[in-house]
């Protein structure tokens, strides 16, 4: 597990206040911020210089204030598919999430709404997941996907839908059990039931499961 050692982070965020706040947050949780920059070009240079474990970047950055951060993230992942990348978005844009998850087989990527950073522990948890090669997808993205997909999803129980949401966000069985205050065995039963109802193959690899569920939810788009 890489996150047992110190995770070295390059941060890209153009808002000075938030950048300082995030640096404080990262240091508080034992990440090492090797460089913090304010635009996408500087981000690419910093990654080339420091070769960090994790990149956290805002999507909307100078000069165009559209999707510079995402473009840089996709490019960095193409060069090094093992680089963990978390992008922070102002609004849910499924295309962004899908494009990012498409890189490096979906391992070690995160797409989160910017507002999530204030839920300190959940945010740090997501960063660790990505640094460990997992996936972190914003709950709002998942809830929109769930709302749109009908069909087999309507056969799920309420609890199964909850479990499915957490699976899709990128949580392991153990993490889901903690969240829902149930035993890991119970979660295992739920996931088995969900996967068979959705006609997805069973796997114990959390990340492969996450990607299968995401692919399913993105299905008819």
């Amino acid at each position: 597990m890489r996150s047992k050692s110190v995770v070295r982070v390059v941060l890209a965020e153009d808002g000075v206040l938030l950048r300082e706040g995030l640096i404080g947050l990262f240091e508080r949780f034992g990440f090492r911020v090797v460089e913090a920059v304010g635009d996408a070009e500087a981000l690419k240079e910093a990654v080339a210089v420091h070769r960090p474990d994790l990149v956290v970047t805002d999507i909307r950055m100078p000069p165009g204030f559209t999707d510079e951060g995402l473009r840089a993230a996709v490019e960095l992942r193409r060069i090094d598919p093992g680089l963990g990348v978390v992008v922070l978005s102002q609004y849910v844009q499924h295309r962004y999430a899908a494009e990012l998850i498409d890189t490096g087989g979906g391992y070690g990527v995160g797409y989160l709404l910017k507002d999530r950073v204030v839920d300190v522990e959940a945010f740090i948890d997501a960063l660790h997941r990505v640094a460990d090669g997992g996936t972190a997808v914003d709950p709002q993205v998942i809830s929109q996907l769930l709302r749109r997909r009908s069909g087999p999803l309507s056969a799920l129980t309420t609890r199964e839908r909850e479990v499915l949401s957490l699976m899709a966000e990128g949580h392991s069985n153990a993490a889901i059990a903690r969240r829902l205050h149930v035993s890991e065995a119970a979660v295992g039963k739920h996931t088995g039931s969900i996967l068979s109802k959705l006609d997805l193959s069973r796997t114990d690899d959390t990340n492969r499961r996450v990607l299968a569920v995401l692919a399913y939810l993105n299905g008819d788009r």
């Binding site: 206040l17 938030l18 947050l25 102002q90 609004y91 849910v92 910017k114 507002d115 839920d119």
Partner: protein, 421 residues
């Protein structure tokens, strides 16, 4: 004595060059005709040819010459008419409108009058003035000639003594006093005709005003739109960013406090409220102008609306370029309202949003498969949006028969342009 008689005289004198110009372009055949008729030697064929030439001149180059002359005449009108001249309204700048606009033909009429009637009247006034001066000066003329130089002819008779000129001198003096009034009256009449024919009637003025009003309305709406963008940017760069930083600090502070302490509970509560505030501010900014619309344009923003909707929405957007900010924002909010209505009232299971730019207009259609029966006049929020659409020069149409489907259509004229900051 006020300046008006002098202005009137100036106006009448400057009428002559205009009349000459008008005459040179349109009047010659008519003069020839008049002379021939006066001579009593005109043959029918000759008359027909002259009339044909005169009419063709008025009909073909007439409106073009008249437009040019009318512009000059309106400027000249200011010498005797202080009222503002209404901007002339033309239905279009194209050549065709020179021949289809009623105003163009009134201008031709004016120019014909200018070529024929007005020089006659002006010359008549000048003749009267000359006569008045001669009469008034007759005692001096006779005095200067000395006795025995023979009688002098004075229009109505011969006079051979200074004493005999007395009635003429009196009449001349009276005429000279009346002359300013005559000039003012004629100038006034000319000006009235010019105003009536060249500036158009009440409906013409109303049209011109309407055009100006809708233009100024569009300018205002554009200004509002620019202001909305400024507010959105200010809130986003300022308050929102500070608030996220602040909330983050509260979140961190909570972690450093003993979990069971009252301080931890308070900070926890404050953190929750700050998060609520963040959500509210985000919604507020979104309602002013959605950031996704500013960043990525209409297709992406419509896609986001579809993602937020509780009813499945299919978006087909063919909008290759960025559109003016006002158009983007208006259409976005119309579609947002239509989707909200579809979700709330129609029991639709599927909504299709199509948007395409075709022939300089953006056509947007929102169609649901619900039970219809929506009343656009009743509390649907669509009335206000119809006004916003009207400001862009577009229109909004709605069809919602009982049993469905409900179709909302918006057509907005637009020239694709980079949405400038």
């Amino acid at each position: 004595m006020s300046a008006w008689p002098w202005r009137s005289i100036g106006y009448l004198l400057t009428t002559l060059p205009s009349a000459v110009a008008a005459f040179a372009t349109l009047g010659v055949p008519w003069l020839v005709l008049a002379v021939r008729l006066a001579q009593g030697r005109a043959r029918a064929g000759e008359v027909a040819v002259l009339v044909l030439i005169g009419v063709s001149l008025a009909a073909v180059p007439g409106p073009l010459a008249a437009a040019w002359l009318s512009g000059r005449e309106l400027r000249r009108l200011r010498t005797v008419d202080a009222r503002p001249v209404q901007a002339r309204f033309r239905s279009g700048r194209r050549l065709r409108s020179r021949y289809t606009d009623p105003l163009a033909w009134r201008e031709v009429g004016y120019v014909l009058l200018l070529a024929t009637v007005s020089p006659v009247l002006v010359l008549a006034v000048m003749a009267i003035a000359l006569m008045a001066v001669t009469f008034a000066a007759s005692p001096i003329i006779l005095g200067a000639q000395g006795a025995g130089a023979g009688p002098v002819t004075l229009v109505f008779g011969k006079v051979d003594s200074v004493v005999g000129t007395a009635p003429y001198a009196a009449a001349g003096a009276a005429l000279l006093l009346l002359l300013p009034y005559l000039a003012t009256a004629l100038a006034g009449a000319h000006a009235a005709v010019a105003r009536a024919l060249l500036t158009g009637g009440a409906s013409e003025r109303l049209r011109a005003e309407l055009v100006e009003v809708s233009r100024s309305r569009t300018r205002l709406a554009d200004a509002f739109e620019a202001e909305r963008r400024r507010i959105e940017r200010d809130l986003h760069d300022g308050a929102q960013q500070r608030l996220v930083g602040f909330t983050l600090k509260l979140g961190l502070a909570r972690l450093d406090l003993p979990p069971d302490s009252s301080a931890a509970a308070l900070v926890d509560e404050a953190h929750g409220e700050a998060k609520q505030l963040m959500a509210e501010l985000r919604e507020l900014i979104h309602g002013i102008r959605p950031q996704i619309l500013t960043d990525l344009g209409l297709p992406a923003a419509l896609g986001e609306l579809a993602d937020r909707s509780t009813v499945p929405v299919v978006v087909e957007a063919d909008v290759p370029e960025r559109l003016p900010a006002l158009v983007e924002n208006t259409v976005y909010f119309v579609v947002a309202e239509a989707l909200t209505n579809a979700a709330k009232h129609s029991r639709a299971t599927c909504v299709t949003v199509t948007a395409r730019v075709k022939g300089g207009a953006l056509d947007v259609e929102v169609r649901d498969d619900g039970h219809g029966g929506a009343d656009p006049d009743r509390g649907s929020g669509l009335t206000g949006l119809a006004d916003r659409v009207a400001v862009t020069g577009g229109r909004m149409l709605m069809s919602s028969p009982a049993g469905g489907p409900t179709v909302l259509r918006v057509e907005v004229p637009c020239d694709p342009s980079p949405s400038s900051e």
